[in-house]
Structures are given as structure tokens and as C-alpha cells.
């Protein structure tokens, strides 16, 4: 086992575990405002102290992990499904269909995701759903490209020719032969994109385009702490650290998985 996969897996496990735990228990109500207990330092009662309106920082961070994981899971799931379907279609049909799908991907790539999120928020109002849609929108062309490139490589292999010679349709070959053979690549890509999605969710929440109050989110905690940097820098440090740990965890895990599934990096001939 590779060290990066182990460390990454541990960090991801930590974030996911905390998010799961926060569903049933947090030390305090993460939305519980108490102005008499503002800016308390860390103590056994408030592990990481309280913020400018007296909310317990540790509880907010725990609940904030939920938002990050939920948005990342939904947006990567949505983006990967749609993008992979398009990429597989492009590889299976070739010709103008492939051209059209790939040029549309280029177009989507060129379109700034943040702009798309602001547009969505302007039209439908800021919400978790719109944050998910905006991040999924970034994911679609990424997965379309990755899956098309890998699928094309599989289509060129002899066992696919054998399946054609056995009279299978392109759809049947795609499902039975192509998809299983690119699953590892997609899994690695999804893990890495998880990190991107967590970062994007934090950015959108920071701008007020993501999860809405009172639901806690790391990005909004950062933006609220921004004006208080000189007064209470720890309020910015903690959510920043959480974002860093989550992103680092998914990136390391993605790298580790890629190393484990790529025979060239394992030193074994393909």
C-alpha cells in the first residue's frame, strides 16, 4: 500500500467520520447564538472557543463538514454520471457525434464555473441545489474528456473487436466491455475531483452563493471571520485548516489510487 493512499484515506475518513457524527451529535447546537458568550477562548466547554455571536466553533466545523461532503458527493456524482455518459457516447459513435461532444466540452471548460454559479444564484437564488449544479457543471467536461480518451483506448483493443465480431451492439459493448475497463480511471478521477468540489463549495459559500444560514459551512465561516482577522484570527484559521485537510486528503487518496491502478507506476508491464 502506498503511503499517500494511506494518509489520504485516513484524512478523508476523519472528515467523513466527523460529518457523520455531526448528524447525530455535536458538543453544542452549531446554530445556537448566545451574545453573552462571544469570543470565548478554547476551553473544555468550547473546545475551539466561540465566534462573534457566541456559536461553538467546534460544533460549526463538524456540521460544516456535512455541507462540504454532501455538496461534493452530489456534484461529483452528477457531473461524473453525465460526463461519463457523454464521453462513452462520443467514443462509441465517433465521427461528428464525437466532435460535437468534445467541442461542447471545450465550450463548458472555457466558461468560468464561478460565473455560472453567480448566474444560477441570480436567477434561482442562492441555495445548496444551485451550488451542486454549478459544481457539477465544472465536472461534466472533465469526465467527458477522461472517459472518452480511456474508452477510445479500450475500443481499439482486440477483445472489443471480438465483441463486434460476435455481433454485439455498440451500446452493449460499451456497457459490458468498455465501462468496466475504464472504471478504475474514473474512480481515481472522481477522488481527485472530490477535492476540487470541496474547494469550490467553500468558494461559493464564501461568496454567499452556497449553503444558506443557519446551516454552517466552512466557506461562510471564513468569510464571516474575514472582518475579524485582527480581533480573532483563530476564527479564520480553523475553517481554513478544515478545508485544507479535506482537500489534501482527497488529493493524496486520488494520487495513491492512481499509483495503485496504473501499472506503469508500479513497475509492472501492462
Amino acid at each position: 500500500m502506498r503511503w499517500n493512499a494511506v494518509v489520504g484515506g485516513a484524512l478523508v475518513g476523519l472528515v467523513a467520520g466527523v460529518a457523520a457524527l455531526s448528524l447525530v451529535w455535536t458538543p453544542h447546537d452549531p446554530a445556537g447564538i448566545d451574545v453573552s458568550r462571544r469570543f470565548l477562548p478554547a476551553s473544555p466547554a468550547h473546545w475551539l472557543g466561540t465566534d462573534q455571536v457566541g456559536r461553538d466553533v467546534a460544533s460549526m466545523l463538524m456540521a460544516g463538514a456535512q455541507s462540504s461532503i454532501a455538496v461534493a458527493l452530489l456534484s461529483v456524482g452528477l457531473g461524473a454520471s453525465l460526463g461519463t455518459a457523454l464521453g462513452l457516447l462520443a467514443a462509441a459513435r465517433g465521427g461528428w457525434v464525437e466532435e460535437a461532444v468534445m467541442r461542447l466540452s471545450d465550450l463548458a471548460f472555457a466558461f468560468p464555473a464561478l460565473l455560472f454559479a453567480i448566474m444560477l444564484a441570480a436567477v434561482f437564488g442562492p441555495s445548496l441545489t444551485n451550488a451542486v449544479l454549478a459544481i457539477a457543471f465544472i465536472m461534466v467536461p472533465i469526465f467527458a474528456r477522461v472517459s472518452r480518451a480511456s474508452a477510445n483506448a479500450v475500443w481499439a483493443r482486440e477483445f472489443v473487436q471480438a465483441a463486434i465480431a460476435a455481433g454485439r451492439s455498440r451500446l452493449g459493448i460499451t456497457i459490458d466491455h468498455v465501462l468496466p475497463n475504464i472504471a478504475a480511471v474514473l474512480m481515481v478521477q472522481a477522488t481527485i475531483e472530490f477535492a476540487v468540489a470541496i474547494l469550490a463549495e467553500a468558494a461559493l459559500s464564501y461568496l454567499g452563493l452556497g449553503v444558506q444560514p443557519p446551516t454552517p459551512s466552512w466557506g461562510r465561516m471564513l468569510s464571516e471571520a474575514q472582518t475579524l482577522l485582527y480581533l480573532a484570527p483563530q476564527l479564520a484559521i480553523w475553517p481554513g485548516l478544515c478545508i485544507m485537510v479535506a482537500v489534501l486528503g482527497f488529493n493524496l487518496m486520488g494520487d495513491g489510487l492512481r499509483d495503485a491502478t496504473d501499472p506503469r507506476l508500479r513497475g509492472v508491464g501492462a
Partner: protein
């Protein structure tokens, strides 16, 4: 009775003719060998019979299968023939099997799709097939993945896959290149025996005259996209009419009897011309020991030189 009839099959890539007006017939249950070097067009001809000519190729001419034109069929029309009535055995037993699927799944794939039978029934048939192709411990092999099988066993699995729907015609494109000499002989004998037992026609494509001799009754000799010679295998090998065939036969390695001095293996001078610079006239004239200026003027017609034998040469050897 004619199973396959090919008329003036021409395959071009851009302006280059990879196959020039190939015509031949195949009877039901006939064992046909196609011999030729790399670039002779033999694989392209086989792929066309499968409806799998490369997309970049311009294909003209007519192919009939069991009395019906098939070259004009759309992709879905071919799909009902592929694997069911015409099957193909691929070259490389490792890469022609999906590494992520069990052998049993791959053998039953065509049956389940073409005949809509249940998994249990398909499994039973796959088991019988593996027995028929001489797979040791077929029950256990059905559950294995390709990497768990030896090269010879994988080749047997490929043969079983091709036979899954009891096709009328099997195309085998260099099916033994990946095997050693003993396995090659076994696989060829197996193919011949299975084709005979099932009354199945077989087209064996090979650059190896020994393989053709072992399996086929009749053979086609292709060079540079042209059919050079056609006839019964035994007759062609003992009395070739075309100088190219004669050169091929001379260049066969033979065991040297004890006491006979070592001699260099005869070769055909020159090398196979590329697709882009195929010579005019007879494709072979530049390398031909009997080549004369007239050979470059036009393509020599394929003429009957003996009962059942045709050759495309202006100066054929007497047969």
C-alpha cells in the same frame, strides 16, 4: 453449394488500392487457406467478410453470404450475422479476451444475445464446448479469468467463443502466431477437426504455408492486394504456377537431413512494396525472376491453367 461468393472486392485507402478486384467462392463446409505476406490484403479481405472493414476504407464489389448480398447491409443487419452465422477467431489470445470477464461469460455472450437462451442453458453449452475444444477441467475454467489460463488454453477458449452459436463460417486470422510449434499444430488440428465434425466452412488466414497445408483443401495466394494464384493446396504446393508462389515455397524452412551441408535459406529478393508505391501492372514484376517489361504494362488476367486452378501470370510455370 456456395456459401460465400466474393466478386470484385476492392478496398482503397485514399488513392491506394489495398485489395484489387478479389473474386472467389467458398463452398459450404469447405476449408480454405489464404496465404500472403503482411500488406497482401488478406486481413482486410477477412474483415470485409465480417462486415468490419475499417471506416477509412472505401469498399466496392459484392459479397454474398448464403445467397444474399451482405456488403450493403447496415450495421444492425451485420449484427445478426456476426457471431451467429459468421464468427472470427482472433490472433492474440491474450488481448482478444476481456481481462475483466470470466471465460464462461465471454463464451456465452454470443449465445445469450443471439439466441436469447437462459444463463443456465448457455453455461451448459459453454461447458460442452470447452470439452469439445479439449480444455482441461472445463468446469473450473469456466469460472476463471483470462490471466489464469495458459496461452494454449486461451486459444482454445477463443475457438470455443467462435463456435458458440454453431456458425456456418469461421474466419481464423493467424490464430496461432502467439503459440509455440507444438501448440500451433494442436490448435490447427483442432480447428480442422471441429470444422469437419460440424460441417462448418473455415477460412484460415496465414503467412505460414505449413499451417495452410495442415488445415486447408484449397488456397488463395495474395500479394500486394492481388489474387496471384488459386487452387487445391496439395497441387499448388507441389507444382506452383505463379513465380511468387514458387518463391514462397522455395523459401520454406525445411529440416536438414544429417550429412547435408548447411545452406542459406532461399529468399525472394527485394521487399513487399508499400501501399503508397505499389507497382503498375503485375504487383510482383519487380521482384519476379521471370519479370519482363510487358509485366509492368497491365495487370495479368486471372486465367484457368488447369481444372480448378487459376493464376494471374503472363508466364506461368507449366503444371
Amino acid at each position: 453449394m456456395t456459401l460465400v461468393s466474393v466478386r470484385d472486392l476492392t478496398i482503397a485507402f485514399g488513392g491506394a488500392l489495398a485489395l484489387r478486384a478479389l473474386s472467389f467462392d467458398l463452398r459450404r463446409g469447405e476449408l480454405l487457406g489464404v496465404v500472403g505476406e503482411s500488406g497482401s490484403g488478406k486481413t482486410l479481405a477477412a474483415l470485409s467478410l465480417m462486415g468490419m472493414a475499417p471506416e477509412a476504407a472505401r469498399v466496392s464489389g459484392a459479397i454474398s453470404f448464403d445467397g444474399e448480398r451482405v456488403d450493403t447491409l447496415p450495421e444492425t443487419g451485420w449484427q445478426s450475422l456476426q457471431g451467429r452465422r459468421i464468427a472470427m477467431i482472433f490472433q492474440e489470445p491474450m488481448s482478444a479476451l476481456n481481462p475483466l470477464q470470466r471465460i464462461g461469460t465471454q463464451i456465452t455472450e454470443a449465445m445469450i444475445w443471439h439466441e436469447g437462451i437462459s444463463r443456465a442453458e448457455a453455461d451448459a453449452r459453454a461447458l460442452a464446448l470447452l470439452g469439445e475444444v479439449g480444455m482441461p477441467e472445463p468446469q473450473a475454467r469456466l469460472r476463471m479469468y483470462p490471466h489464469q489460463l495458459s496461452g494454449g488454453q486461451r486459444q482454445r477458449a477463443l475457438i470455443a467463443m467462435a463456435l458458440a452459436c454453431n456458425p456456418d463460417l469461421v474466419l481464423a486470422d493467424e490464430p496461432t502466431t502467439a503459440l509455440d510449434a507444438t501448440r500451433t499444430a494442436q490448435a490447427l488440428d483442432l480447428l480442422r477437426g471441429l470444422a469437419r465434425a460440424r460441417g462448418m466452412a473455415l477460412i484460415l488466414i496465414s503467412h505460414d504455408l505449413a499451417a495452410i497445408e495442415r488445415v486447408a483443401e484449397r488456397m488463395l495466394v495474395l500479394y500486394g492486394g492481388d489474387l496471384m494464384e488459386e487452387g487445391p493446396v496439395a497441387e499448388i504446393l507441389s507444382r506452383p504456377a505463379h513465380p511468387y508462389t514458387a518463391g514462397l515455397i522455395r523459401a520454406r524452412p525445411r529440416p536438414r537431413p544429417p550429412g547435408v551441408p548447411r545452406r542459406p535459406l532461399p529468399t525472394i529478393p527485394g521487399s513487399v512494396p508499400g501501399l503508397a508505391d505499389l507497382p503498375r501492372g503485375c504487383r510482383f514484376h519487380g521482384r519476379c525472376p521471370k519479370g519482363r517489361p510487358v509485366c509492368a504494362e497491365g495487370r495479368p488476367p486471372l486465367v484457368d491453367i488447369a481444372p480448378g486452378r487459376r493464376a494471374a501470370c503472363l508466364f506461368p510455370e507449366p503444371v
